[in-house]
Symmetry: D2
Subunit: 381 residues, 4 copies
């Protein structure tokens, strides 16, 4: 229909995250009544047949196995990169060079050297760039950010964050891409989300001291035991620029934890607790409540909270994983429509990588290391 502005979308990657973004782009205009409305132009996966199949399922007009074709497609205005992290930099640079806006999944490239290059290219381009940190988009975590920013819990004195899952907890689980190469390890693959949360909720980290290890050093494989070449779990003690003390724990061998993206924050006037396994609840403690009536209050997500009511008018009815991706799509489209950056940009993705690099440095030195601030370091908003 002619009365709306639409925008051509290309998605690189047809796996788990590629599908999530495809669904999000199909639904986002109806959910949020966005100014720009996605046209699903082209999807790229690793084979022509696979790409055609995904195009059919997800509703794209065209398919390709060559991301270069996608990023230069004249009907594509914006590119969503949901392919493995070793492809992020090349695709991003090519897409920016072709004048396309870029949304890139976390982690932003293979480390901070790549993410720095991606950030600089994006800043030079004047185009919109975003990093895919979806978990911080739940209504509950957005509410947490607002509560802290508004000073409702006073000055924060302690932050504890974790991202714990158990997909590698079984020592008999065979070797795979997951157990090969640092970028696919626990710090490379799992840590970025909760580091992003720490930055979003608390602001920059100034120093840290890490302990990282490979718990299961070999894995079964058809050819016999294979050495695991990346890490299974790690912890980071840190100090934020605000002065607050913090701790992060990341593990892919945390038996029993399925989606342990969780944080606990103490302030001088209150406290917050959140666990993604019950993503529609935020726990708030207020020192201003009457004596004898104080305690942690379980706040259920509802229409008073950010982005909730587009999904549901009833409080407590709940949003889910896919909805987080729809919120990301809304933000990306809004940034393009407004022509200005939308948190979290590549700068945020890069800051996360810096902290991961610092953790590895700390691990090697067995001590504390400083994290350098980056120019124009974004603040939580």
């Amino acid at each position: 229909m002619g009365w709306v502005s639409d925008i051509g979308i290309g998605i690189v990657g047809g796996g788990y995250m590629g599908k999530a973004h495809a669904v999000a782009m199909s639904a986002v205009a109806a959910v949020f009544d966005t100014a720009l409305r996605p046209r699903l132009e082209i999807i790229c996966t690793t084979t022509p047949e696979g790409a055609a199949e995904k195009a059919r399922q997800f509703g794209f007009a065209r398919a390709t196995d060559d991301w270069r074709q996608l990023v230069t497609d004249p009907r594509v205005d914006a590119v969503v990169i949901a392919s493995p992290q070793d492809t992020h930099k090349a695709i991003t640079l090519a897409a920016l060079a072709a004048g396309k806006h870029v949304f890139c999944e976390k982690p932003l490239g293979l480390g901070s050297a790549e993410s720095r290059a991606m950030l600089e290219a994006a800043q030079r381009s004047g185009l919109v760039h975003m990093t895919g940190f979806n978990y911080i988009r739940t209504p509950a975590s957005q509410l947490a950010r607002r509560i802290i920013a508004a000073g409702e819990i006073g000055k924060v004195t302690w932050f504890r964050g974790e991202h714990t899952e158990d997909f590698c907890a079984d020592p008999l689980q065979p070797a795979s891409w997951r157990t090969r190469g640092r970028p696919n390890g626990n710090m490379g693959d799992l840590a970025p989300h909760i580091i992003n949360a720490a930055l979003a909720l608390m602001g920059p980290v100034r120093s840290l001291c890490a302990d990282i290890e490979t718990v299961h050093r070999t894995r079964p494989s058809a050819a016999g035991p294979e050495a695991v070449t990346n890490d299974d779990q790690g912890q980071i003690m840190c100090r934020f620029a605000s002065g607050a003390m913090g701790h992060l724990f990341i593990s892919r061998v945390a038996t029993g934890r399925k989606m342990g993206y969780a944080y606990e924050i103490f302030g001088t006037e209150g406290a917050l607790r959140f666990d993604q396994e019950d993503q529609n609840a935020l726990w708030l403690y207020r020192t201003s409540d009457p004596k004898g009536r104080q305690g942690f209050t379980k706040i259920l997500s509802g229409p008073e909270h950010p982005d909730y009511k587009a999904f549901c008018l009833g409080p407590g009815h709940g949003t889910g994983y896919q909805d987080q991706i729809i919120i990301e799509a809304r933000d990306f489209l809004a940034a393009i429509a407004a022509g200005k950056p939308q948190w979290p940009t590549f700068a945020d993705g890069h800051m996360v990588n810096q902290i991961i690099d610092a953790a590895w440095t700390s691990q090697e030195r067995r001590g504390w290391v400083d994290v350098e601030p980056i120019a124009g370091e974004p603040q939580p908003a």
Copy 2:
């Protein structure tokens, strides 16, 4: 693209539920790779302008303020009825007469007389008919049904269900359509979902004894206090055909409850607990666990559970309200593709109405009443 079979969808209603179904029809093919793929043909709301606006937002090709035009539109194959319940019967009968498959939101018409007529027309038509009971579609509640059906908790001896919300809890909340007319009351509007859950999990109800009341008998209005002409809360003691004892509580004045669709089930070999406010968790107790290690286990929804992995491969990552509607859309399309009924049909919607009618009869008689089985009464599957 020519290689898929698609199907023309018309939606009657552009409010809360109309939107939910529009989003679901936009997303369902990508989520589930359905055999039939929806084309959003036409939406009907109460004014031409409103309908056009909704068509634009939701991506429909056409708009109308006349549902008769919609149900007879030659490009429409299936109709989703998400308009007020006093319109359900007329639209359904016209749509069936026009040869369209019908999905109708709960409650199915204004009572059991209407739902009986709708059911009979649907059965005569040979077309697909479904009732919109979305909450029973969560992976957790589908899992509960399977656990019971498989005998994992033995013979069920007790069922307690509730649907509690607090949208009318404030006595100063003004009079509105919600406080006028029995169909908009607590039993008419809120009870159907949990009655459906009771039937789905436990099978038919054979007798019941109810207590129903209007807690706040007048409401403020611009013209002064207005009498409330429907009910605020009600409870039902019941016996199931299986012999199990049960209790249902439904309230729109349950202060603090936001989405209290909840149940608790005791069996001879285990027990189940569920609360929609944490819709990704099902609590299971097993008498077969070792002595001293028994307790309620919090099972997080995951890819082993029904319909979960289409939304997310990671366990505990969670589905939400909108996803339930997408699952309904998948079921509706699958029923049409297969040419056979899909639970819950209009028979299920009608059985729910029978129980509501019986509760009112019990309230009038102040005693127990029997609930007659209907021919071809569906069993939980």
Copy 3:
């Protein structure tokens, strides 16, 4: 030592409850610095040897197998009756006749005819009489009573109480005293505590409608299957004198529930939830909390709450089952010292029996029955 007033205690019963009261009488003076300090004079059990053994373990000066000797012992000032309920009336009447204060465990005799006689005798005697409803003595449930009485949750519109345990849930559990005779059944033995809670929190019940059943009708025994002669579970719909609607569920076959003494209360300005399985937490919802920050607050028992700080100065450190009995002992001693009745008196025990009798009447009539108020009916305090 000469500077304190002490009081001679006799305990009838050396089982579970007799022990709990013996421990309580040993500890209460140190915990609460009571004006009257117990001397453990004599304990009565069913055999001389058993009584001597219990006297040694619990620290009583003397032992007997004849409760008549105990109640007339000149060094005994007050009697605690913790023997089976069919002995309550005779012991009580004899003890009162001998001028002894009486604390009698629930249920108060074999039914309301007995409890009425016990109440009348106690009232005539001018002596202190109490009924052993220990669960309502937790700091959390005492706090709940205060919150309701102070109007903090406004006018109460709904009360749901349950006492669910699973000690008879296994159908293969052999026949025993528990499965023989109405007084030992679910309504006779398990229901009194939660009915007491309903009265304590809500005030008198005016009418009710019950459904009671024996789930497992035979039990294994050495001589083959034995008929169960009492009930396993029951539910009661009720209306309180206040006008509030209520529901009680009592079950000894509630698989998975270990101490399901629990209630949920909705009012016009808030709500309460409590479950004895986490007895140090009371959940409070306040409509006066800011929009978007409302939810159930988990209040941990602490020194601001009734009777807590005698056990522990630190909040959240927790009291347990035995501490409830110590609080009862404190109340009994305080009532004797003050020479005035202490809630819950025999009147409260009798009111509970009235409701149980009314439930059986309702079961027989299959309908609603009224509950007559008793003269001088106590109010919750």
Copy 4:
């Protein structure tokens, strides 16, 4: 009565802990039917009047303000030290010299130099010595120890412990003894319990890296702002001798936490979670549960678990803070009766102090430090 062996008890300290031990000694024989039965001989507090008053309340035969008199009293066989930690060493040494068994509250003296001297004297004496770590005595935490020791959760790979309370969270709380002197600080006063738990559950710590800070550096006082001379919160990364990675967080400024003695343990075949704020629940995850039925099971304390049934035959009925002290008293008496050491001895108290000292060393060096094993280092049992 002549037929039991009794034992004379002296308690030093009439405050919070002195009272708890006095109550425990009054109740323990009745609760556990101990071989040795306490006679409350003498209590020592700081003034003669105060001591006499406490003797009266707690039921001691005599009172004194001179602990030397108490430890040499010929009717005293065993001494419980519940006075401030700077008195522990002198009283202990004198009591041992006088041939008395000694139970000393945590922390064991003012640091590891004192605790080493106390341990050596105790070992030379051949008398019974115990340290007062009561929280590890709950049935739930005893069960956790057994589950780990039995290998039910496989090889442990991660331990996270915390002891968080908020009694100093308010920055406007005035200066007091709590804010003066390292032994009264967060590490000195609050950390020992959770360090003890770590050792009890996991075995010895081999190395650690700590970060400790004073959050509120001045406190109001009558004379104006007063410098705080001890610490408010601290965290410790550690490695256990078993190879497992660990983290401890201790804070007295953890707003909202009342009794945050909590731990979370991941193993290759399961996981455990515990929080003292719900001390009657232990959460267990088993990888051996069927696929799709796995999750954390909430095990309520019950008679199958250590020491529970002495307090209550019914599962889920719950024990509390005071009951932990009664269990300690039982253990102390049992050790004396058996003439052999009872965990946790002074060696355990000393090991805790070693770790606190190591944490301070780490804080000064800003890096990792090793913790030396001590001779005859006890293992968790």
